[in-house]
């Protein structure tokens, strides 16, 4: 039967596939609008959960601290001892005075605080810790 009317079969197929396209288009628009495209971090970081309401602004200088204590400045591995110098170089260009710290929630708090101390010593005006809002837990 289908071989007899090829044209008709084509049109039928299009008709049948239309709801699928509708749904796929809706999903596509949802993901385009609701999600943000952002550069992924070179290491996996589970940020601490907080109730803070403040949204992060532009992140020009970002320091990552992993749960095992490694630190990455703007994506590049920097040993903790060299951090102060590297940060002073970055901050010295005058582009930004705020440092965003994205630290893992399981990282040792003392280590993170020691790093924060170095950031202040390197001349940052503000240090902001990035956290995630609630739902993740």
């Amino acid at each position: 039967m289908a071989f007899g009317k090829p044209r008709r079969r084509h049109a039928d197929e299009d008709q049948r596939i239309m709801p699928l396209i509708n749904v796929v288009f809706l999903l596509l628009i949802f993901f385009m609008v609701a999600g943000q495209l952002s550069k992924t971090d070179p290491v996996k970081i589970e940020p601490p959960v907080s109730e803070s309401e403040k949204k992060p602004g532009e992140r020009l200088v970002q320091l990552l601290i992993t749960s095992d204590g490694r630190s990455l400045l703007n994506g590049a591995d920097v040993p903790v001892d060299a951090l102060q110098g590297a940060l002073a170089d970055v901050l010295g260009t005058g582009a930004a005075k705020t440092v965003h710290v994205k630290a893992d929630g399981n990282a040792d708090a003392r280590h993170v605080i020691a790093v924060l101390d170095r950031i202040k010593a390197a001349g940052a005006e503000k240090v902001k810790l990035l956290t995630s809002a609630g739902s993740g837990r």
């Binding site: 299009d14 596939i17 396209i21 796929v24 929630g105 708090a109 990035l130």
Partner: protein, 125 residues
């Protein structure tokens, strides 16, 4: 009408599917927030007159005395009622995760603390 039906929708669906998969994988739904942190230095001028809360893995200590979290928050909020500008320093001990430290700072802030900061335990203190 006939002519239009000749063009199949399949290539369109292919492209749309590829776009869909791309956006599904590439977009993140993480809701980022920030916490502005102060870090006091032990021995510095900004430490005088501040209350030092030690956060250890086995509990909380305020001026050498063990506290439960509820009791600590009650004591602190009574203090904040007298003096809203009272500074509180949180000093995490060994083996305390950042998550716990952040939780404590947030609860102290919720109890009325306006000046809550971390203190590094590097030197003395």
């Amino acid at each position: 009408m006939r002519r239009r039906a000749v063009i199949s929708l399949t290539p369109l669906i292919d492209v749309v599917f590829i776009l869909l998969v791309f956006f599904m994988l590439a977009s993140s739904f993480m809701d980022w927030r920030t916490l502005e942190l102060g870090v006091a230095r032990p021995g510095g001028g900004d430490v005088t007159g501040a209350m030092l809360v030690e956060l250890r893995h086995d509990g909380l200590r305020l001026s050498g005395e063990n506290f439960t979290e509820d009791r600590l928050l009650r004591v602190l909020s009574a203090r904040f009622a007298d003096d809203p500008a009272q500074r509180v320093l949180v000093k995490p001990g060994e083996g305390v995760s950042l998550q716990r430290a952040v939780d404590l700072v947030e609860r102290i802030a919720a109890a009325g603390g306006r000046e809550v900061s971390f203190v590094s335990s590097a030197e003395g203190g």
